[in-house]
């Protein structure tokens, strides 16, 4: 493990923590605009997090240690996962870091704990949230893996670092493949970050909530961790999409200027993407839960299409 890599760890983690709340607020802002409202400040999420950190934590008497460790584990797992997606700087991969399956599994680890925490207090909403979350994540899994397989197929590597390096140095593969990968990854982002039409992050209306249902019991600093980890996860996934499709700006050498440029470019690219997500969300209604499989089937179709196109061309 060289110093570059250690620096990478530090930079990536700090960057992702620093910028991700911004994008959460940005989406809200975009949605507010499309609805003709002014919306909260783009820094609202930061304020919320700080407020939450100052509050006390309340545990239900029924809850066990799962409830207590979940925020930490979730945060840790997602931060490590975020390390797998270089935001501004692509180092040489060390010890299998950047393995795309491991990335996916780390997200699954966080989800596993969250779902258990949802069940822990015994409230029916938490249970409902967990149940739906696990169901959705299960049926999106084939799509995700096929998209990843397609990526591996296109880039001839399993490692996200290498993929980025290839896309930076040699440019991306054919346009059609890119579009398809883009669409598939986009759907995955929507699902993984619990956005409309899969989930509605805004409401606490009982019948529609999934992700929010799971973390209903969380409070204070724990809630802050959960919120932050959700934001980090979104950022990491967005970065994965962006750095594959529009890789320009990301640096492979460790220079201050390069990193600063990359950071600015990242924020710009992500802001555009959040804009797209916001508009997408606003133009959609939340789907009924049991209509989701058909949405996923569509995603699966796209991802399989990539494979088929790649295989037969």
């Amino acid at each position: 493990m060289n110093t570059d890599f250690v620096l990478y760890l530090a930079i990536n983690t700090l960057v992702v923590i620093a910028v991700s709340p911004l994008f959460v607020s940005l989406i809200k802002k975009v949605k507010a605009w499309t609805q003709g409202r002014q919306g909260p400040s783009v820094f609202q999420t930061y304020f919320t997090l700080i407020k939450l950190l100052k509050k006390e934590v309340i545990y239900s008497p029924n809850s066990s240690r799962i409830m207590r460790v979940t925020p930490l584990v979730t945060m840790a797992a997602i931060l490590v996962a975020a390390l797998f997606v270089p935001l501004v700087f692509v180092p040489e991969p060390v010890g299998g870091m950047g393995n795309i399956i491991l990335f996916m599994s780390l997200l699954a680890l966080a989800r596993f704990f969250m779902a258990l925490a949802g069940l822990d207090a015994g409230s029916s909403f938490g249970g409902m949230g967990s149940s739906r979350e696990m169901s959705i994540s299960s049926i999106i899994e084939p799509t995700t893996i096929v998209v990843f397989a397609a990526l591996a197929f296109v880039f001839k590597t399993l490692n996200i670092f290498d993929m980025f390096a290839i896309s930076v140095s040699t440019g991306s593969p054919s346009l059609s493949t890119l579009i398809l990968i883009g669409i598939s990854l986009f759907i995955i982002i929507i699902v993984e970050t619990s956005r409309i039409p899969v989930d509605n992050p805004e409401t606490h209306l009982e019948l529609t909530m999934i992700h929010e249902g799971m973390i209903l019991e969380q409070s204070g600093r724990n809630l802050a961790l959960m919120e932050l980890s959700a934001a980090v996860k979104m950022t990491a996934l967005m970065a994965l999409l962006l750095n594959l499709i529009v890789p320009f700006g990301i640096t492979t050498s460790l220079t201050l200027a390069g990193i600063l440029i990359a950071l600015i470019l990242l924020v710009v690219k992500c802001s555009i993407l959040t804009g797209i997500i916001g508009i997408f969300e606003s133009s959609m209604a939340k789907k009924r839960f049991f209509q989701l499989p058909s949405l996923f089937a569509m995603a699966f179709f796209f991802s399989t299409l990539i494979i088929i196109i790649e295989v037969f061309s």
Binding site: L53, S137, R221
Partner: protein
């Protein structure tokens, strides 16, 4: 040295078998403890010898006994055998340790001595199967294994459920033996010897038939769908440690058989691989889908075993495909994945069975709907179960993930395969495989959540108590193994001498831990440290009730509906009305029953068919002398005609 150790271990196991038989009528704890201690000692010996042999990579062969020229009791302990011996050794040591305490809580007075004896015999048989150097010895011990495990399954023979399980198990086990026997005979016909050595002269139809027969035999024993039905019956019915042994080890013996014959005897074709892969994938997906629906904790674990065996078979299938496509590197990778998953499955499945057994003995029910809240009452057990659940859900950094990752990697590497159609097939299997691992994580969220979290849903669960120490140490060792095998996977492979493209899980784990520590530290210094334990918001309900909780059933409901095409349900309802035009509803009953597809469309029709055939055959024996004499008469006439025209 290896041979001597091996024989010593056999003798110790034999002592463990015979001693309780001698003291059969003595209902003493000491008898059972001595017998189980023998098992533990033998397991340790086996563990040592297999580790030594695994590392050195030698192939030790020796003949114990040769009564007739055609048949010798000879053994070979090579790397593959040592690997499986290691599985047996670890699992059986832990199980036996657990058993020493568990058995004292069981019914059956002095019958328990026999149970100990049979357990020892069972382990002995498995060890011998693994070490057998020729097919005849292999089959002989295979049968011994079948017989002893049958006796173990039917231990609580007075229950209806056990009777059914026993019947299923007996039939399927016999069927498996039949196929293995057929395979061995066909092999002998082809090669003229019992040696487990390559078949020369190409894959003739005899060799292909032999492979198919062996594959069927091993599939039945391993519980590959559609031969899986015995598993979800036998596992719940047998005593828990036995389920742990059967699921953790016995299924692996079938895997061993398949691997051994594929590697050492046959030169497989591509379609063999496809066959194995298809069987594996189908079992994996269907197994976990059925597991989700199961509310009997041991039944659920049984279905999950089917899933995991499916995963192992997937790995083997891939390996065969790669071998046939002349890609030895990838073949090794996927085979390593399959073998590593066998080891891991043995660890976490035994762990889960043992802890589930503790839970069952504490709550006196196997229905997870009647558990709940046990995390408070059985903290250690719940922690151990949790480790198992994380492992089996294939989450990093534990061992289940490591082995599934290997198989995933070999799937991803199928890029190197030539035939495009084949790639598509592999990608479909990959998608299903991913579905499997995601569903298994849902399944174990449900299991852990329903068993250990929230409020107790039955009075027994509310007063459950932590189990004695021996019942914690055994699973504890397994849990430690799960963690170790996961975290240090790369290092272990390197140590044994395989370079696998696994990520460094040690690094990842360190990162995870340090991230958690950092987060904690940051929070500690920045955030409020106030903590209050109090009633939380319940969406308007005043106080929480166990009956209002999300049950296991409710948890899997969304998936039920999504996979309703696979869960065939039958809805029946009866309604009565007050008026004649059926407008005013009076009362009614309704039932939604889950159809057991394989049982109702495959097993039962076959059973009914064969029963009706036997009925008509028994009519032959009608008890009337005249009829019998008529048979004789007709036969003699027929024979005379035969004489006249065919002599």
């Amino acid at each position: 040295m290896i041979a001597e150790l091996f024989i010593l271990a056999l003798l110790v196991l034999l002592a463990g078998t015979i001693f309780p038989l001698i003291a059969a009528s003595l209902d003493r704890r000491s008898v059972r403890t001595i017998s189980l201690s023998c098992t533990i000692v033998a397991s340790i010996l086996l563990g040592i010898l297999s580790l030594v042999n695994l590392l050195s990579g030698d192939s030790v062969s020796f003949t114990l006994y040769q009564p007739i020229p055609a048949f010798s009791l000879s053994f070979v302990i090579d790397r593959l055998a040592s690997f499986f011996l290691l599985i047996i050794a670890v699992v059986s040591a832990c199980v036996a340790l657990y058993f020493t305490e568990y058995i004292e809580h069981m019914d059956g007075e002095s019958r328990r001595n026999l149970l100990c004896s049979c357990t020892s015999l069972f382990i002995l048989a498995m060890v011998l199967v693994i070490a057998s150097a020729n097919t005849l010895a292999f089959f002989l011990f295979w049968e011994l294994m079948a017989a002893s495990s049958f006796l173990l399954v039917t231990y609580e023979y007075t229950h209806d459920e056990t009777r059914k399980a026993g019947t299923f198990y007996f039939i399927m086990t016999q069927l498996s033996s039949l196929f293995v026997l057929l395979g061995i005979i066909l092999l002998y016909t082809q090669t003229g010897s019992f040696a487990i050595s390559p078949v020369y002269g190409g894959m003739t139809y005899l060799a292909i038939l032999a492979f198919l027969a062996l594959f069927a035999g091993f599939s039945i024993k391993a519980g590959i769908i559609p031969f899986h039905k015995w598993l979800p019956y036998a596992h719940p019915a047998s005593p828990t440690p036995i389920s742990a042994l059967m699921s953790g080890v016995m299924l692996k013996i079938a895997v061993y058989g398949l691997v051994r014959f594929l590697l050492d005897v046959f030169t497989p074709d591509l379609w063999w691989g496809v066959l194995i892969l298809a069987a594996g994938t189908a079992s994996a997906v269907l197994g976990i889908i059925y597991a989700l629906k199961e509310h009997d904790v041991k039944g659920m674990l049984a279905y999950s075993s089917i899933e995991n065996i499916g995963i192992i078979f997937t790995g083997i299938g891939l390996s065969v495909i790669f071998t046939a496509s002349n890609l030895p590197g990838l073949a090794t990778l996927s085979l390593l994945g399959a073998l590593f998953h066998s080891l891991n499955h043995a660890m976490f499945k035994s762990l889960l069975f043992l802890t589930a057994g503790s839970v069952v003995s504490a709550t006196h029910t196997r229905d997870i709907e009647h558990m709940g809240g046990l995390a408070h009452r059985m903290p250690v057990t719940s922690a151990l179960f949790f480790v198992g659940a994380v492992s089996i859900a294939a989450l990093p950094p534990l061992n289940g993930f490591a082995s599934e990752l290997l198989i995933f990697m070999s799937f991803f590497s199928s890029v190197a395969l030539v035939d495009p159609l084949f790639k598509v097939l592999l990608f479909i299997c990959l998608a299903l495989f991913a579905l499997t691992s995601a569903l298994s994580s849902a399944c174990f969220v449900k299991a852990f959540g329903s068993i250990f979290l929230a409020l107790p849903r039955s009075p027994e669960s509310a007063v459950a108590e932590e189990v004695p120490r021996a019942m914690l140490i055994g699973p504890g060792i397994l849990a430690a193994a799960c963690i170790l095998l996961g975290v240090c996977a790369l290092q272990i492979f390197a140590f044994v001498g395989f370079a696998v493209p696994l990520p460094d899980m040690l690094l990842i784990s360190l990162l995870l831990v340090s991230m958690a520590v950092l987060t904690y530290a940051v929070l500690y210094f920045t955030a409020s440290r106030e903590v209050r334990v109090s009633e939380t918001w319940g969406c308007g309900t005043l106080s929480q009730q166990a009956s209002a909780e999300y049950s296991g059933h409710g948890f899997s409901e969304p998936l039920d509906i999504i996979f309703s095409a696979i869960y065939r349900t039958r809805t029946t309802s009866e309604r009565t009305f007050h008026d004649q035009k059926n407008c005013i509803f009076k009362e009614g009953t309704g039932e939604i029953r889950l159809l057991k597809v394989f049982e109702e469309y495959l097993y039962r029709p076959i059973a009914q068919q064969s029963m009706s055939i036997t009925k008509s055959v028994s009519r032959f024996q009608n008890g009337c002398l005249d009829t019998y004499l008529l048979y004789v008469f007709v036969t003699i006439i027929a024979l005379i005609i035969f004489l006249g025209w065919f002599a």
